[in-house]
């Protein structure tokens, strides 16, 4: 069987099948008034916990949400806290003397039936939502019986239809060797969590997964997406070998930590990391990162009910600067809007949020927000090698305007006699096609470029990367995208400014040599990806990279490019 491999590694172990168990009523009736009150309290508490659980998911910094996800979670909160549901449950507890679980189960069954009976197809499918929130509340009423909170045997391979975001957080994963789910994609929560915890995972396996029973012997390959159920000894042996190779391979990567990232013919390559706060720095240095190519600042603005003050921001940047061991840290100014909303900053709903009021566009409109952030970064710049990076630049006026505001921030600090790095570098993200095409113009005004391939790809190809129907068109190997990237790198070199890449592509082993061939020498990626890329760099030279680059740029379609790169770069 085959699914989508989302977290590499080989897992061999016994299956534990998690079913969305059907809750049964017990028929136990309540005795007296005190029982009744206690049961109503239990319900309110369970509702409270269930809401809290969802709020925690929403605010988990490790998970990034699309606008759609947030609105689904918000709707779930409304369902859980619904006064009508509570009335129904309380009614059953007080007048029928049902215990709280029975009351909830029955109230949900009734509600599901009402919705199923409605003539409207949309409303019929909402019955599943109601069932789901019933289960969620119930989970908090009968804690011990919940599937995911149980303790697992060592080496367990978890088989489930899907793993809900809340479950991935509450689950004890220490004994879990692997995950396999029926539904899901590369960006689903299971994938993100598994990757973060280094647990092999395969998602999107489909109905085939239903044949797996508890304690079946399972082999799961998180790279290829292959799953074997009770395989022959021959396959088990083969995969035992593969697993050992993988483990020794990843151990070898750890040893690469202190190896200098330099090609065999002596070109030094800077491997930087993308981080969200000071705590991420430890993993950066553990993986041999040489600085921060992208410090996202959104985290600082989230999970709160007002904008952070200059002092609060200063504390955040200072902490990063102090822990950065003198290595460069590129701070991206706030990139909200689009799919990233702040509860206290009322942004209108837009038809095309990715083409809308976001990032630098907000900053140049609400200059108070931008100046506060600039001042905080400037103040922290005396504690480390901080640089400022502006996201979503589409033309040179925006750069000039932003630089005037930064100058104003400096002036305000000067007047207050607060010290800062007066010659702090200011660079821009290249993620809008117009910026890429005018790289020659922009290079004259900034100290560095950082190519953001995710948005650049989406905007160049006119493909919404969240839309499943067209996900095959989201193709970073499209010659149009490659030409833009190449042009940006050439222009940066010509104007003698730094150029780095901080998008997804920088961590794709398939593109390392191609980008090297284009002349890119600074790559920024998630800390975990650094060893893989370093391993490619230290085993190759720039002549080979140049050859690959020349051949790829002469090709007319991404299929050939991908095939060629697979044959020529992966070892």
């Amino acid at each position: 069987m085959k699914g989508i491999g989302v977290s590499p590694g080989i897992a061999i172990g016994r299956a534990c099948v998690i079913k969305n168990s059907k809750a049964e009523t017990t028929g136990v009736l309540l005795n007296d008034e005190a029982d009744i009150l206690a049961n109503i309290n239990l319900f309110d508490e369970a509702v409270h916990l269930a809401i809290h659980e969802i709020e925690a998911i929403k605010q988990n910094p490790d998970l990034t949400f699309h606008e759609e996800d947030i609105s689904i979670l918000d709707t779930q909160i409304e369902f859980i806290s619904d006064p009508q549901l509570r009335d129904d449950v309380v009614e059953k507890i007080t007048t029928e003397k049902k215990n709280v679980s029975d009351a909830l189960i029955e109230a949900i069954v009734n509600m599901v039936e009402i919705f199923r009976g409605m003539g409207d197809e949309y409303m019929q499918t909402r019955s599943a939502d109601i069932q789901d929130i019933g289960n969620r509340i119930l989970k908090h009423l009968i804690k011990s019986k919940s599937g995911f909170t149980q303790a697992f045997e060592p080496g367990t391979i978890l088989i489930a239809e899907d793993i809900a975001p809340s479950d991935t957080i509450t689950m004890d994963t220490r004994n879990i060797a692997g995950f396999a789910t029926q539904i899901g994609s590369k960006t689903s929560h299971t994938a993100i969590i598994a990757k973060a915890k280094g647990i092999p995972a395969v998602v999107g396996c489909g109905d085939g997964l239903a044949v797996i029973k508890d304690n079946d012997l399972i082999i799961l390959d998180g790279l290829t997406g292959l799953i074997f159920i009770n395989p022959e000894d021959k396959i088990i042996n083969e995969y035992n070998c593969k697993r050992d190779t993988y483990i020794s391979y990843s151990n070898k990567f750890k040893q690469l930590k202190d190896v200098q990232s330099i090609t065999t013919d002596g070109t030094e390559i800077k491997l930087l990391a993308n981080i969200s706060n000071a705590d991420d720095l430890e993993a950066v240095f553990d993986n041999g990162g040489e600085g921060v190519g992208l410090l996202r600042t959104e985290l600082l603005f989230m999970n709160r009910d007002s904008f952070p003050t200059e002092n609060e921001q200063f504390g955040f940047y200072k902490k990063v600067a102090l822990q950065s061991k003198g290595k460069p840290v590129i701070v991206r100014t706030i990139d909200i809007g689009g799919d990233k909303q702040l509860p206290y900053f009322d942004l209108p709903v837009e038809q095309n949020p990715f083409l809308g009021y976001r990032a630098i566009r907000i900053c140049l409109d609400r200059t108070d927000i931008f100046i506060t952030q600039s001042k905080a970064i400037l103040r922290a710049s005396t504690f480390g090698d901080l640089k400022i990076m502006l996201p979503m630049i589409s033309n040179i006026q925006e750069v000039r305007q932003a630089k005037i505001l930064i100058a104003q921030a400096k002036q305000e600090l000067l007047q207050a006699s607060i010290s800062f790095n007066a010659s702090i570098e200011v660079g821009i993200m290249i993620e809008i096609p117009s910026a890429a095409i005018t790289a020659d113009i922009l290079a004259k005004e900034v100290d560095f470029f950082s190519i953001g391939t995710n948005d650049l790809c989406q905007y160049t190809l006119a493909v919404d990367r969240m839309n499943d129907k067209i996900s095959h068109l989201y193709d970073p190997f499209n010659p149009g995208v490659l030409r833009l990237i190449n042009y940006v790198i050439q222009q940066a070199h010509q104007h003698k400014i730094h150029v780095a890449m901080c998008g997804e592509m920088a961590s794709d082993p398939l593109t390392t040599l191609l980008l090297l061939g284009m002349g890119l020498t600074e790559f920024s990626m998630s800390a975990a990806a650094i060893p893989t890329i370093k391993n490619i760099i230290i085993n190759n030279d720039t002549i080979k990279a140049k050859n690959i680059y020349n051949k790829v740029m002469a090709m007319d379609n991404s299929d050939s490019i991908i095939q060629f790169l697979q044959e020529n770069t992966v070892q």
Partner: protein, 88 residues
């Protein structure tokens, strides 16, 4: 009490997302706010009740607002039904 009539401008009617927005809007005012159709009236604080009305795009509904802040609330509902709803 303030009474307003609106035509539902979202193609899919009042589905989960606009219902959620409506409830949150309602909760931000002290007034008691209800949604009414000839056959049914429910308070706008329960997503289950709102969805069970299965209000479709193009339908006309009546909103009833009563309380200290009914005038401001009515303005917000004007804005929601006349402008924001079509994007939801």
């Amino acid at each position: 009490m303030i009474t307003r009539e609106y035509i539902i401008t979202s193609a899919q009617g009042i589905h989960a997302r606009p219902a959620t927005t409506l409830i949150r809007l309602t909760k931000s005012y002290k007034s008691v706010i209800c949604i009414k159709r000839p056959d049914k009236i429910v308070r706008l604080n329960s997503i289950l009740n709102i969805l069970s009305m299965a209000i479709k795009g193009g339908e006309t509904v009546t909103i009833l607002i009563e309380g200290d802040d009914e005038a401001i609330a009515a303005k917000a509902f004007d804005q929601f039904f006349n402008e924001e709803l079509k994007a939801l």
